[in-house]
């Protein structure tokens, strides 16, 4: 039973890391109804900007500020050169634009900062907490706990921002209907630039944590793949949904990886395993059949 809880807690903490990436998707979807295919590329760009600046001699705090500036500029440029032309176009056109953006960033970022995988040291060691290991015999990573704390602060801040600020309310209005928001004087262009900037900040936080965990390299773009089932479960428009979805996906994929292969082997023979790559998608698919809007997503009703 102790092993079960160890896997469960490890999975929940991994899920938090997925949530951090999913949050970026949610922000942009909430403000523009666009599924931002480039979110993984933004995580890569943000992390690469930090290590790129550090290699030029900047201390970590300055590198973070510079990287945030890069992400903000990226957000403003995306609004000006990509999204502005596509206002009131079908969502699929905006989605296709973000696919182009993803490939552009994935090509440009390594050209500017280099493609070598690099280490990122945030000063948090990814080692088990000794006291828990000794008392409960369970491995709980210091790094994962810090990541969970960061995610909690980020979610709380974003939830408050959306709920209680004028910009937050404007963001929600824009998400509901671009044209209606424009007609009552909400500056759509500013709102989009702000939300892409905030999504860039979220990408920076995710990039820092994923980069410190696995190294800063092209594979950071793959983190987006882990966020998709999280979004389906949590809902594309819910910040808390991204967290809850992440927890469910993280825990279930780890438990599945441990407990399903032995059952499959006893039934069919051979060697099973490596199922955590597809298991979250199957879970999300099943969930879609039951609750297409996700756990916390808004139910969409069209009048005929």
């Amino acid at each position: 039973m102790q092993f079960f809880f160890e896997v469960l807690i490890g999975g929940l903490l991994s899920g938090i890391m997925y949530s951090l990436v999913a949050l970026g998707f949610v922000l942009i979807y909430k403000a523009s109804g666009v599924f931002n295919f480039a979110q993984g590329a933004m995580v890569y760009l943000a992390a690469l900007s930090v290590v790129g600046c550090m290699e030029k001699g900047a201390p970590l705090w300055l590198a973070l500020i510079l990287a945030f500036a890069v992400m903000t500029l990226f957000g403003i440029a995306t609004e000006k050169f990509v999204l502005r032309k596509l206002v009131n176009q079908p969502p699929i056109a905006l989605f296709m634009a973000t696919i182009g953006l993803a490939f552009f960033v994935e090509g440009l970022a390594p050209m500017v900062f280099g493609s070598d995988p690099r280490a990122l040291d945030l000063g948090i060691v990814d080692e088990p907490i000794e006291s828990i290991l000794e008392s409960a015999g369970m491995v709980i990573s210091k790094f994962d706990l810090v990541a969970a704390g960061v995610a909690a602060v980020l979610v709380t801040s974003l939830a408050l921002f959306f709920q209680y600020t004028r910009i937050g309310r404007a963001l929600r209005a824009v998400a509901d209907d671009h044209q209606a928001a424009l007609s009552i004087g909400i500056p759509l262009q500013h709102i989009w630039a702000i939300v892409w900037g905030v999504a860039g900040f979220v990408a920076l936080v995710a990039g820092m944590l994923w980069g410190a965990r696995n190294g800063v390299q092209f594979a950071l773009t793959f983190t987006a793949l882990k966020a998709l089932p999280v979004l389906i479960l949590g809902g594309f428009t819910s910040v808390p949904g991204a967290i809850v979805g992440g927890l469910i996906i993280g825990a279930s994929e780890k438990l599945a990886e441990i407990y399903i292969p032995p059952v499959m082997q006893s039934l069919f023979g051979g060697n099973f395993g490596g199922i955590e790559g597809w298991f979250p998608y199957v879970l999300a698919l099943l969930f879609l059949l039951v609750r297409p809007e996700g756990l916390f997503g808004e139910r969409h009703i069209d009048r005929v």
Binding site: G11, S115, A219, G277
Partner: protein
């Protein structure tokens, strides 16, 4: 007024023909480089192909080519993508008609895609330490060469290394095989199972789904299993994630031994302190002080013709591996010229013969300063691998350090597995295997 474009077009056509002819003249040995320097694994390709091109340049600068035949090459970027790999091959193959050095794709996927095409076009495909491993049996795969070592022989050599560490017996020991869940990772399973049965150790197989950037469950399972060693066949981000995850569960890194795909600076540097003590297989050592590498730096970089943009890669594991691949390829050109005429460019069929009749002894490797870049190699129709030997190196926190001499995998155990697989392939494809006893040297 109606203008005619015909003269202009004709002029362009003539110019292009002249350009292409000058790129591959009769006195040049052409190497079609199906390479990758950008994309997800671009950093690996930059070092490898940088080393490869530097050595070709070195041969031209140092000795004016091979018996007066200069080395020439053209690169085509695959981004480690199978479809682009095939596209590049198709683009370069027409230029390789008159003379063709072996094609090195540095990709198992692209190699698989090219095995049949290269055979049909009579162009030799080199797969040093990767690719379709049953091509060791040259009777079925005349144009494919998994040279130096294979995933299976490498696994067998790693087992032998562990056995030596355990004073000659693995009976009752537990070994976990943690592998990339792809053809690359799966190919070694049958070899490890055979080794487990022979050496009486308990083998546990744990796959990791691509890309391997999350291995929490696998390492908790390893912690629960409490193995004596982990044999680790990772690739890309899976390598750093594996080392970091091992640190997270407190598994000692000096009990993890990786394959050569998991044994470069690109794998250990991003893992930081988590990589210290980790070991991996290799057939070329790292370092700029190796005689050949030092001379390349002096001759090629000193002459302003170095291929690397980032010269810090000079002397890294993958740079030196690129040099080792080029050394082997150029030695094959020499061998072909010995048979088919010195001072002439060799075509695909002649190079195929040379690759199948290589005999590079230690004395020759020492002579060219490559003693730590390649093991002795002796190929034949029945053995396109030619060696099966690797060394084990250990990451000391800053650099790779050799911790063993050459270790050969158990050929008697592993090679019959290749023969059985090749036989099955021949049956499926309707290929009549060559009779190797009738092949002329």
């Amino acid at each position: 007024m109606k203008k005619s474009f015909k003269p202009a077009l004709a002029a362009v056509a003539v110019s292009l023909a002249l350009i292409s002819q000058s790129a591959v003249s009769a006195e040049e040995q052409f190497f079609p480089l199906v390479s990758y320097r950008v994309g997800p694994y671009g950093a690996n390709g930059q070092a490898f192909y940088g080393g490869f091109v530097d050595y070709l340049n070195y041969v031209n600068m140092k000795e004016g080519g091979v018996n007066g035949v200069k080395m020439a090459w053209e690169e085509c970027e695959t981004e480690y993508n199978n479809a682009k790999g095939v596209e590049c091959y198709e683009r370069l193959k027409s230029k390789a008609k008159a003379s063709a050095g072996p094609i090195h794709t540095m990709s198992t996927g692209i190699s698989y895609a090219l095995v049949d095409k290269a055979a049909a076009d009579k162009l030799p495909l080199a797969m040093m330490g990767y690719g379709r491993t049953d091509a060791v049996d040259g009777s079925v795969f005349p144009y494919a060469f998994p040279l130096v070592t294979t995933y299976q022989m490498q696994a067998s050599a790693i087992v032998r290394f562990i056995k030596d560490k355990e004073k000659g017996s693995l009976a009752g020991k537990k070994i976990v095989y943690l592998y990339h869940d792809s053809a690359y990772g799966k190919e070694a399973i049958v070899a490890l199972q055979a080794e487990a049965s022979l050496n009486k150790f308990e083998l546990t197989l744990i796959p990791v789904a691509h890309p391997g950037n999350e291995q929490g469950a696998q390492w908790l399972k390893i912690r629960q299993e409490k193995p004596d060693y982990v044999i680790f066949y990772g690739w890309g981000v899976m390598n750093q994630t594996g080392l970091k995850s091992a640190q997270k569960v407190g598994f000692p890194r000096d009990r993890i031994i990786g394959s050569w795909w998991a044994g470069s600076e690109e794998d250990t540097v991003p893992a930081g302190d988590a990589a210290k003590g980790y070991m991996a297989a290799t057939w070329n050592l790292a370092g700029k002080s190796l005689p050949l590498i030092a001379d390349i730096e002096k001759t090629v970089y000193g002459g302003g013709k170095g291929n690397l943009q980032d010269t810090s890669k000079l002397g890294t594991v993958l740079y030196n591996r690129g040099v080792s691949a080029a050394v082997l390829s150029v030695e094959a050109v020499r061998r072909a010229q010995e048979k088919f005429g010195k001072g002439k460019a060799m075509n695909g069929e002649q190079m195929r013969w040379a690759l199948e009749n290589l005999n590079i002894a230690d004395a020759r490797l020492k002579q060219i300063g490559a003693a730590d870049l390649l093991p002795e190699i002796k190929t034949s129709c029945a053995n396109h691998e030619g060696s099966g030997k690797v060394k084990i190196q250990q990451w000391d926190g800053a650099k790779w350090v050799p911790v063993s001499g050459w270790i050969e995998g158990n050929k008697a155990l592993i090679h019959p597995l290749f023969e059985a697989s090749a036989k099955q392939y021949a049956k499926e494809k309707g290929i009549t295997p060559r009779d190797c006893s009738k092949e002329k040297i």
